[in-house]
């Protein structure tokens, strides 16, 4: 047997013992999981994950819908998604090892003090295979321990990565990758249960592994990254999975809110992941570190932007209530 196959077999064995599910079936809702996730007024919600989370800020659908669905409960939402990130903090490190990424994340968690953290990790296993699954799960556990340590009482939502699409050649066939994602979802469902986290089966909600053949109306740009229409559907399914209901507000009322969400996200992005980190906070801060004083100046701007979001949300809700 080829060593790689051996590793796969070992991973499969692990799955067989921990998640006795066929890859194509939907994961059953964890027995103890309530039908809906409870948000509270003034919750700070942090989004954490790789590209699928990071790109939400380009479209703003998830935050827009979540704000509308939460009605009178006002929350603040901060996107800490980072392309290519893993539970080990790979993308968050600069000059150092991934642990430096975890340190950076720690600082951000300390800054934001989240009440709710929504996590979507594991997309890399789609292509790297399931041999890394055990390490992934223990890394995930360590990450959640960190989040809890920094924010005692934090409530967690774990989402499984959504499925990939088979687009026309020469784009690659994603069927094997989807198989991996289905297995990952099974493992995550069980993992979320063991971590007392609310589980969102985004994989299944978005239709699970596509049937063989090409996707007719793609929701992804390249088979793996969702388009704006894709994010609309991702959002709808996510809100549903949380047990929330979206009021029927007209686009004329929701679009200004969504645009303001995107503008707020841009401000926040330049706050938490500013360019020129090498000079502002990194090893050359003794040269241009004096410019770092500008970075906290984003905070009042973001607070104002949040206030504006509340106003726009209220306007949109009023429009929804009017028949």
């Amino acid at each position: 047997m080829h060593p790689r196959d051996l590793r796969l077999a070992a991973a499969a064995l692990l799955l067989a013992t921990t998640a006795p599910l066929s890859a194509q079936e939907a994961a059953p809702a964890t027995a103890s999981q309530p039908a809906s996730f409870e948000f509270k007024s003034d919750d700070t919600i942090v989004l954490l994950g790789s590209t699928v989370i990071e790109r939400e800020q380009r479209y703003g659908h998830l935050e827009t819908s979540l704000r509308l669905a939460l009605g009178d409960k006002n929350v603040s939402i901060r996107n800490l998604g980072w392309s290519g990130d893993t539970v080990f903090g790979h993308a968050r490190s600069y000059f150092g090892p991934p642990e430096e990424g975890i340190q950076r994340l720690t600082a951000h968690l300390e800054l934001l003090k989240p009440d709710v953290v929504i996590l979507c990790y594991g997309t890399e296993l789609a292509h790297e295979g399931l041999s890394g699954l055990p390490a992934f799960l223990s890394g995930y556990r360590a990450l959640l321990d960190l989040v809890r340590e920094k924010s005692p009482g934090v409530r967690l939502i774990i989402a499984s990565p959504p499925p990939l699409e088979n687009l026309a050649p020469p784009l690659p066939d994603q069927a094997p990758a989807n198989k991996n994602l289905a297995s990952l979802r099974d493992a995550l469902a069980k993992f979320a249960g063991s971590q007392n986290a609310f589980f969102v089966d985004w994989f299944q909600a978005m239709g699970g592994a596509p049937k063989p053949g090409r996707v007719e109306k793609p929701l992804t740009e390249n088979g793996i990254h969702y388009t704006e229409a894709g994010y609309q559907k991702l959002t709808t399914k996510f809100i549903e999975a949380l047990g929330l209901k979206l009021p029927d507000a007209p686009p004329t009322a929701t679009e200004p809110l969504r645009k303001a969400v995107i503008a707020k996200d841009f401000l926040f992005f330049n706050r938490w992941r500013p360019q020129n980190e090498t000079y502002l906070f990194g090893f050359r801060k003794h040269e241009q570190g004096q410019n770092a004083k500008e970075i906290p100046m984003f905070d009042p701007l973001i607070a104002d932007a949040d206030k504006k979001l509340v106003e726009l949300k209220n306007t949109a809700l009023a429009a929804a209530k009017r028949p």
């Binding site: 290519g84 784009l171 360019q275 020129n276 090498t278 040269e287």
Partner: protein, 1137 residues
């Protein structure tokens, strides 16, 4: 009389003001483009005109043409950093010259709302844009030349420094999209083929239709230029690497790539900062320019040109005369492209200051609004017709592939790609069939046809085979580059590669290794190793070794199991050595014992053994030392044991018996190494023997040294007492220093006590250096010495030397103050008041004499050249100063001399590494490998530290340049020095000319009688006797290339010549002719290796074999009052060494 400079600086506590920022903006020149145009130095035969300026275009960063002849420019007014609350406002602008008068008359904003975008290239019906963390594809769907569709193609690019962001978008001749990133960027991109991560600089390759993204080359500091030549070979510029043109092939790794064990180098070291690159491939330009590479020196305001000569698998580059120069401080050429009309278009970012690492983000001198595109044309040459490409039928487009103009061929292929495979392929076949096989361009036409198929992503094995059969090696090499993407689609690829690896041309063999490396299989590696059967060179060796190392998991288990047979011992040793792993050793030892290895292979085996051997293997090595059949390898094996023992604590079983036997060996070399091993193996029973060796006056120095090292490693009270006794009783200063050094390991407190006694009695700084250095090897010792110095007195000169050594190594804490107090040294004032700075800047401008300043710079005691080069000669520890004057304001220069730590140049930060044993290594980071760090220490020595031994690593906020170097200067001298620096690289006398002058010399110091006799008895050729130690001094030429003879000692009393003597080395990769030029022949004798050059002329040719040669130039009494010697390499592929 002039007062010493120190008095000019008032002692002040008000230190908040930035020295680099003058109080006024008086230095800012007029922004009128006419003023800027007047400051161009345009070479004879060319002319320049303004194509576009603000408000049509602001702050251009990168530009690319489209097939319709429109110029797409990415523009950022936000750089260097967005202000809180500011919106993303940067733009893509399209410029058009609708009436073809050489001036843009239409400017359209294609897209806005971007955030420091750094690259744009139109193509595939839209344009690709690098926008900070993302690469976007923007499309205009309704024909109004405004983007109305935005797709995020890739995301996850780092933004740790906004002049390093992903940049330099280029389409290759095969239709792939290339872009690059710089040193501080860390990128993580999810693609449909998996995640790609790139730490540091590198070259990305992207096929949009498959979304396949790969890294083809890593490293370089700021690779702001990338271009292909006519044959599909690629080259990169570097905005900070200072090595000029870099040859890029898949797998190539250059300086600063994290994790790199080995790196390649650029072809023209000593080059200033480059951005933008073009390859001349248009008959509109002079015939001798064709194929040459041009790059912008944005710091010096020049455009440089380099010609390339094939050299093995790579090239040699030679700098030619500048294409353009300017004396305007705000001219910042950062991109350049040949346009549809054949003219050279230059993007001028226009800024009086560059950078934001050393100059404040919000510096008021920073220009945010201007920007120009200049247009350079050859005078009198007839301009080519503007090509019509878009919408042309396929057969017409295919005919354009025969064009001698790269622009036409390139955009014809872009258009063919847009028309698609279905339309192109049938006509392409017809076109190929009709090609004239007797045409000299036939094979190049075939290459264009194959590239066209790549553009439409339809590989044809049949066409490829025709291409591969080409006579021209450049076409065969290009065919293999295509195969690097297509080997999966060629069923007999391995058979082809077996031929390719034995090709008569080295570059073809290099590409064969590249393809085989990409296959990542054991059989492919076996074939790649066959490259060793032909001459190897740096690039080939680099790529083959990299393959062996990175793919060791793939092939090594099969070799160890005997499933992959490497029957040629040379191949086997090379492969195993490349792996650098201990599993390789059993097989390597077997080959060593077989006695079939060449000397260099033996050295390779032993190097691996020292690095990787474990205890069992150490035992096997000890057995080999004792095996009479292996006696030729005794020393090598023992050195490997010493390395394994001292760096990794590896100790064989039976160490005591082994080392005891060796200590009584009659061979000195064995005894010496055994003494060291006794210590590292902790053989306590050997102590008495070591003590005897150390104290016996008959023991020769090397053995004494070994005994000392052994005893130090054994440690303990006994060692301490012995060293202390020896220190007290010995009268030999060398022995005393050695004892203190030893004591620092076994009794630091006592060591410090003895050291202070020693320092207090020291007569010269030289005497004290070893002792002072001994206290800088870890973090505790400096404090120990500082404590002991409290209340004591040492000579001032000794204290100054101490301060210099301590600050150079970045040691923190109280030692500097303690030395100053003990030596009564006054602290240097490091801060000028703003008024004093303004006054000094003014004096530099009005009173400074750069000629006198150069002489100050050259003074031995200032040590400038020991760390800095000007051009290709001088030290490498600090930044190259070749164009410092053209980029750095005068106040910056002054501040840097007085307080070197205030601003530190990118790449010249000092790293401090604390090893697990507590010792410290500091200096400039040369390489950050996966397994080891390579550091250049302040003494210019290379230090390697295994990563496994690193406890911590920090970057020092202090400069490696010690403060106070200029403290000894009078004010007028200081002013002259700054004046000289401020002129470096500017148009005028202090710009390094492109001529290849010999700039690094060895000059004869004061000769003793024995030295004179050694020459007189056998004649002048004896000057080139490498085995004789003449009193040579390193001497660097002046900026103008002169070796000033009056700086040399008085003429040697060597009858009949009474000469002054200079010597340089020449190195050639292959046999060839070298033509040298000499400024004077009267009374001058040139000796090449073992012979005088007869009939010396001002220009003379030498026939040289590959390898190293020595040339001595003897200036005899007959030369009269010759002031300077100037030697130039006029022709030939030789480098000075």
């Amino acid at each position: 009389m002039l007062r010493p400079l120190l008095f000019v600086f008032t002692f002040t506590a008000a230190a908040a003001l930035h020295a680099a920022q003058p109080k006024t903006l008086a230095d800012i020149p007029s922004t009128d483009p006419k003023v800027e145009q007047e400051k161009f130095v345009v070479p004879e035969g060319f002319e320049i005109n303004l194509f576009a300026s603000e408000p049509m275009i602001q702050k251009p960063v990168q530009m690319n043409w489209d097939a319709q002849g429109r110029l797409w420019i990415v523009s950022s007014t936000t750089y260097p950093h967005i202000k809180p609350g500011e919106e993303a406002k940067d733009q893509i602008v399209v410029l058009e010259d609708t009436n073809h008068d050489g001036k843009a008359d239409k400017s359209t904003v294609f897209a806005e709302g971007l955030h420091i975008p750094t690259a744009v290239i139109p193509g595939d019906g839209g344009c690709y844009v690098a926008n900070s963390t993302e690469i976007l594809f923007l499309k205009d769907t309704n024909g109004d030349l405004k983007a109305d569709e935005r797709t995020i193609l890739l995301s996850g690019f780092g933004t740790e420094d906004t002049h390093h962001l992903v940049h330099t978008m280029r389409f290759g001749p095969e239709g792939l999209l290339y872009f690059l990133q710089s040193i501080y960027i860390h990128t993580h991109v999810e693609t449909p083929h998996g995640i790609r991560r790139l730490m540091g600089g590198g070259v990305w390759e992207f096929r949009p239709e498959t979304r396949k993204l790969e890294i083809i080359s890593k490293g370089l500091i700021n690779p702001w230029g990338f271009e292909f030549d006519r044959w599909g070979q690629s080259f990169a510029a570097d905005g900070a690497g200072s090595e000029g043109v870099n040859f890029i092939f898949p797998g190539s790794v250059f300086a600063t790539s994290p994790g790199a064990k080995r790196i390649l180098h650029g072809m023209t070291p000593g080059q200033p900062k480059h951005a933008g690159q073009e390859n001349v491939d248009d008959p509109y330009w002079p015939a001798d320019w064709q194929g040459s590479i041009i790059q912008n020196d944005f710091r010096g305001g020049r455009i440089n040109r380099f010609t390339l000569t094939p050299n093995g698998s790579s090239y040699l580059a030679k700098q030619e005369k500048d294409v353009l120069a300017s004396t305007h401080v705000a001219f910042r050429p950062i991109d350049l492209k040949f346009g549809p009309d054949g003219a050279l278009y230059i993007a001028d970012w226009y800024n009086p200051i560059i950078q934001h690492g050393e100059v404040d983000f919000r510096d008021p001198r920073r220009d945010h609004t201007n920007g120009r595109i200049w247009r350079l044309t050859p005078k009198g040459a007839s301009a080519p017709a503007l090509p019509a490409i878009v919408g042309k039928p396929v057969p017409e487009l295919l005919e354009m592939l025969k064009s001698p103009r790269k622009y036409v061929r390139h955009f014809a292929k872009r258009e063919l790609r847009d028309q698609g495979a279905t339309a192109v392929l049938p006509a392409l076949k017809t076109w190929i069939d009709a090609l004239d096989k007797s045409s000299p361009d036939y094979e190049h036409n075939l290459l264009e046809a194959a590239w066209t198929r790549e553009c439409v992503n339809k590989f044809s094995p049949g066409l490829w085979r025709t291409l591969w059969a080409a006579k021209d090696y450049r076409v065969r090499a290009a065919a293999l580059r295509i195969l690097s993407h297509r080997w999966r689609e060629l069923p007999d690829a391995m058979d082809v590669l077996k031929k390719a690896i034995a090709d008569e041309n080295a570059q073809v063999r290099l590409w064969a290794v590249a393809v085989l490396s990409d296959m990542r299989t054991a059989p492919a590696f076996e074939v790649a190793l066959r490259a060793l059967d032909n001459p190897m060179d740096e690039s080939l060796d680099f790529l083959l070794e990299l393959t062996g190392r990175e793919q060791a998991d793939v092939w090594m288990p099969l070799v160890n199991k005997g499933e992959l047979k490497l029957t040629n011992p040379k191949h086997l040793v090379y492969a195993l050595k490349s792996s650098g792993r201990s599993e390789a050793l059993p097989t390597l030892f077997a080959t060593l014992k077989s006695g079939k290895l060449a000397a260099e292979d033996v050295a390779a085996v032993l190097a691996v053994a020292g690095d990787a051997a474990d205890a069992v293997q150490a035992k096997e090595m000890a057995d080999m030392v004792n095996d009479p059949a292996m006696k030729d390898h005794t020393i090598g094996l023992m050195d490997a044991l010493v390395k394994a023992g001292s760096t990794r604590g590896v100790k064989p079983e039976g160490a005591k018996e082994i080392v005891t036997a060796w200590l009584s060996d009659s061979r000195i070399e064995v005894k010496h190494r055994a003494s060291i091993l006794a210590g590292s193996w902790k053989v306590e029973s050997a102590r008495a023997t070591l003590e005897a060796l150390l104290t016996d006056s008959a023991t020769i120095a090397p053995v004494k040294d070994g005994a000392l090292r052994g005893l130090t490693a054994l440690g303990g009270v006994k060692t301490r007492d012995l060293f202390d006794k020896l220190f007290t009783t010995s009268t030999d200063l060398g022995m005393k220093s050695l004892c203190i050094d030893g004591l620092t390991s076994v009794g630091p407190q006592l060591a410090a006590k003895r050291a202070v006694e020693f320092l207090a009695a020291a007569k010269t700084a030289q005497e004290a250096t070893a002792v002072l250095t001994a206290f800088l090897k870890n973090k505790q010792l400096p404090n120990q010495l500082a404590k002991e110095l409290a209340g004591k007195k040492i000579p001032e000169a000794i204290a100054i030397e101490g301060v210099r050594l301590v600050s150079q190594r970045g040691v923190q804490g109280g030692l500097i103050d303690a030395l100053r107090n003990a030596g009564g040294v006054k602290p240097m004032d490091q801060q000028l008041t703003p008024e004093a700075m303004t006054a000094l800047v003014e004096k530099v401008k009005t009173l400074g004499d750069p000629k006198r300043g150069e002489l100050v710079f050259r003074r031995q005691q200032l040590l400038c050249f020991s760390c800095h080069a000007i051009g290709d000669a001088g030290g490498v520890l600090g930044p190259n100063l070749v164009s410092i004057g053209a980029s750095a304001p005068v106040d910056y220069l002054i501040e840097s001399l007085i307080n070197p730590s205030a601003k530190i140049k990118e790449g010249y930060h000092m790293v401090l590494v604390t090893k697990k044993d507590g010792s410290i290594v500091s200096g400039g980071l040369v390489q950050d490998g996966n397994d080891e760090l390579v550091i250049r220490d302040p003494a210019n020595q290379i230090q390697k530290v295994a990563k496994s031994q690193v406890a911590s690593r920090t970057i020092s906020p202090a400069s490696m340049m010690p403060p106070g170097l200029t403290a000894s200067l009078r004010e007028d001298e200081f002013i002259d020095l700054v004046s000289f620096l401020s002129k470096l690289g500017k148009e005028g006398d202090f710009k390094i000319a492109p001529n290849k002058y010999v700039r690094t010399w060895k000059t004869m110091g004061v000769m003793e009688q024995a030295d004179i006799d050694h020459v007189r008895h056998d004649g002048l050729p004896n000057l080139n006797d490498r085995n004789y130690k003449f009193p040579w001094n390193l001497t660097i030429s002046k900026v103008n290339g002169d070796l000033p003879l009056d700086e040399l000692p008085a003429a040697a009393k060597m009858y009949p010549w009474f000469p002054k003597i200079g010597q340089f080395g020449l190195k050639l990769a292959g046999d060839g002719k070298v033509k040298l030029g000499l400024n004077e022949t009267k009374g001058v004798i040139v000796v090449l290796d073992g012979e005088e050059v007869r009939d010396l002329k001002p220009q003379f040719e030498l026939n040289l074999k590959a390898g190293s040669h020595l040339v001595s130039v003897v200036v005899t009494r007959d030369a009269g009052e010759l002031k300077a010697l100037r030697v130039e390499i006029l022709e030939g592929a030789a480098v000075v060494e």
